[in-house]
């Protein structure tokens, strides 16, 4: 079946990279003044040539974001269900070869975590697991969705890629959103970072957003792990993927994240370091390229960065996050997937958002709108 893979195969990493790095100030100026911007414009906006135009990009990004999304920031929180994982990923704390205590939350433990999360004010939860098909599989997810469904109006998932029929089934159990990050679109490098486990199958992962679109998942989240490869080239592939998906699965919404590699015990040093200025450039470039896409920022980023990025194009934010299963109530001391940077509570974040002249929005979906769930 045809999918993004067809487009991907026609595209060479090296040529794409060269094309980005050869963009000039004139290309950037043309992109800035365009009415609707193309993928070539996006290349110019993420290129080194756009660095001197950062303030102008930020101004446009702010205006476009206000117009579409208003003075609000959507709030969500991750709920780590399991750190069991059969994959080796060189950058991840849950990697199979990392000697840590493994845990998958039981229904009772999940409800203990949920109670704390609800107390924090959240109504949108992001379920996270590793990839362990012996314990964390579609049946487990179905049970979790049934269990927590009554407590949240929006449930997102960031788990291993699944088959089309799994997604269709989970959707009927109330799953709204699926995030699946490609990590990197550089195929050889991908294989180096994922030497063992199902995740080493680059193609299957690349085709996952197609399956999500076919399954009619409401919102699909894309991204790469910044630090593995040249971020400009990887981000261009992400934008190209987004563009293809929007045109093909036009009934789904899309969101983009830009996780920068964070330290964890025994982990890999980033190959490429992206500084704050460059991350702002990337965020603004996405907004200028696509006025409607949701842009999300996690607690990986510092307080200072998060406080200031709200006005520049971000539409969703996590807060008070724990990245270990049981982190909120059951077993707060267990090993984290990565160290978070912004450790403020959800309430503190909401106050900070309000000080910026924005409102934290906790609820933006309702299962009353889903006829299939009645």
């Amino acid at each position: 079946m045809s999918g993004f893979n067809d487009i991907f195969e026609q595209c060479s990493w090296d040529e794409t990279s060269r094309s980005i790095y050869s963009k000039t100030a004139a290309d950037v100026e043309r992109a800035l003044s365009a009415r609707r911007r193309t993928l070539e414009d996006f290349k110019a906006l993420i290129s080194p040539a756009a660095a001197p135009y950062l303030e102008q990009m930020a101004q446009i990004s702010q205006q476009l974001t206000l117009k579409r999304f208003g003075r609000v920031v959507q709030m969500y929180v991750p709920l780590y269900l399991s750190n069991e994982c059969n994959n080796i990923c060189t950058y991840c704390g849950f990697s199979y070869d990392n000697k840590v205590k493994r845990k998958t939350l039981s229904p009772m433990e999940i409800m203990q975590e949920v109670a704390v999360i609800k107390e924090m004010g959240f109504d949108h939860v992001l379920l996270v697991t590793g990839e362990a098909n012996q314990s964390v599989h579609t049946d487990y997810f179905k049970k979790v969705l049934e269990l927590i469904g009554p407590h949240f109006s929006h449930i997102s998932m960031e788990v291993q890629p699944l088959d089309l029929t799994d997604y269709e089934e989970l959707r009927s159990y109330g799953l709204n959103t699926v995030l699946v990050y490609q990590e990197t679109y550089h195929e050889e490098d991908y294989k180096k970072h994922h030497p063992k486990g199902k995740k080493s199958n680059f193609q299957y992962r690349l085709e996952t957003p197609d399956r999500l679109g076919q399954a009619g998942i409401h919102k699909i989240g894309l991204g790469v792990l910044i630090g593995l490869e040249d971020w400009r080239t990887d981000s261009f592939y992400t934008a190209m993927h987004l563009d293809y998906l929007e045109k093909t699965y036009w009934q789904s919404k899309y969101s983009i994240s830009f996780p920068r590699l964070r330290p964890f015990s025994g982990g890999l040093e980033p190959k490429v370091v992206m500084n704050d200025r460059e991350l702002v450039q990337l965020i603004c470039a996405y907004r200028l390229f696509n006025e409607e896409v949701e842009l999300s920022i996690s607690t990986r980023e510092s307080n200072l960065f998060r406080d200031n990025i709200i006005k520049l194009g971000i539409t969703a934010m996590s807060a008070g996050s724990k990245t270990n299963p049981g982190g909120y109530a059951v077993e707060p001391q267990s090993l984290e997937q990565f160290e978070i940077s912004d450790e403020r509570s959800a309430l503190e974040i909401a106050e900070m958002i309000s000080k910026q002249g924005y409102e934290a929005v906790w609820k933006d979906w309702d299962n009353a709108l889903r006829e299939e769930l009645k």
């Binding site: 206000l66 117009k67 579409r68 999304f69 208003g70 003075r71 609000v72 109006s153 929007e246 036009w250 009934q251 789904s252 919404k253 409607e292 309000s354 002249g357 924005y358 409102e359 929005v361 609820k363 933006d364 979906w365 309702d366 009353a368 709108l369 889903r370 006829e371 009645k374």
Partner: protein, 253 residues
């Protein structure tokens, strides 16, 4: 005065509740607008509590709630959502928004017609958000719509009345109130909509994300009143060319 179904409205400015930076700011702006019909997205309100922040700030005798189905993708989902709204918010008024396309939020004409027909049978007062399509407006009338809400330009775009030629046809042949929804970016757009004979306008983004939502709400209030007054007073004809000094028809004199 404007009458929709059994309700009389003194204000022809309808408003939305999204995109404000707080519920308090929303409340102040909506009070300044004088609006008597305020649309609320079901997805944003918590219908299981009496203490929803948005609803608490809309408790005024002159403000009628118009729940909307924003987020649904087909007629069945819309009908289901409307029933939940009727129960939770105790109103049979519903703003029907069916946009299967979450990027441009374009309304689906086929599903909208289907849902309107069904909801009218279920006793709802239906106000459907639609493209500026004159034939669709007549079809909606046939199935009992209470009003039509054609768009001026893409929702949230602030681009004004890009569909004006079609809006004029709709206004000209409509037997139900015509409310211009979506795209109205400035008070001058609202005034223009009223001048061409719209019965009302619905404004949200242009108020909520302006530099001063309260002042902007007042400006829209005045613009809508001015536009309506101008419509009733009948505008003079627009002359595009001067009177020729050697008239072609002088030989007839």
């Amino acid at each position: 005065m404007l009458k929709i179904a059994d309700k009389i409205f003194n204000s022809r400015l309808f408003t939305g509740t999204g995109k404000f930076n707080s519920a308090i700011q929303m409340e102040e702006a909506l009070l300044a607008s004088g609006s008597e019909l305020v649309t609320v997205a079901l997805k944003r309100v918590d219908m299981h509590t009496d203490e929803d922040d948005i609803l608490l700030h809309l408790k005024y005798p002159h403000i009628n709630l118009l729940p909307n189905t924003s987020g649904v993708r087909n007629a069945n989902e819309a009908i289901f959502a409307a029933q939940i709204a009727r129960e939770a918010l105790e109103t049979n008024w519903i703003k029907l928004e069916i946009h299967p396309d979450p990027k441009y939020l374009m309304p689906d004409p086929i599903e909208t017609l289907k849902a309107t027909e069904e909801l009218v049978k279920l006793g709802f007062i239906v106000l459907p958000y639609i493209h500026a399509d004159p034939v669709l407006c007549k079809r909606l009338e046939d199935v009992g719509t209470a009003a039509v809400m054609p768009l001026g330009s893409p929702i949230g775009s602030n681009k004004g009345l890009k569909t004006i030629d079609f809006l004029e046809i709709i206004i000209n042949q409509s037997n139900v109130p015509v409310i211009i929804d979506a795209g109205i970016g400035a008070p001058s757009d609202a005034a223009k909509a009223m001048e061409i004979g719209a019965d009302a306008v619905l404004v949200n983004t242009a108020i909520a994300v302006s530099g001063n939502p309260i002042q902007m709400a007042k400006a829209f209030k005045i613009a809508v009143e001015a536009g309506r007054m101008a419509y009733k007073a009948k505008l003079g004809a627009i002359g595009s060319h001067a009177i020729a000094s050697s008239p072609l028809t002088s030989f007839l004199d």
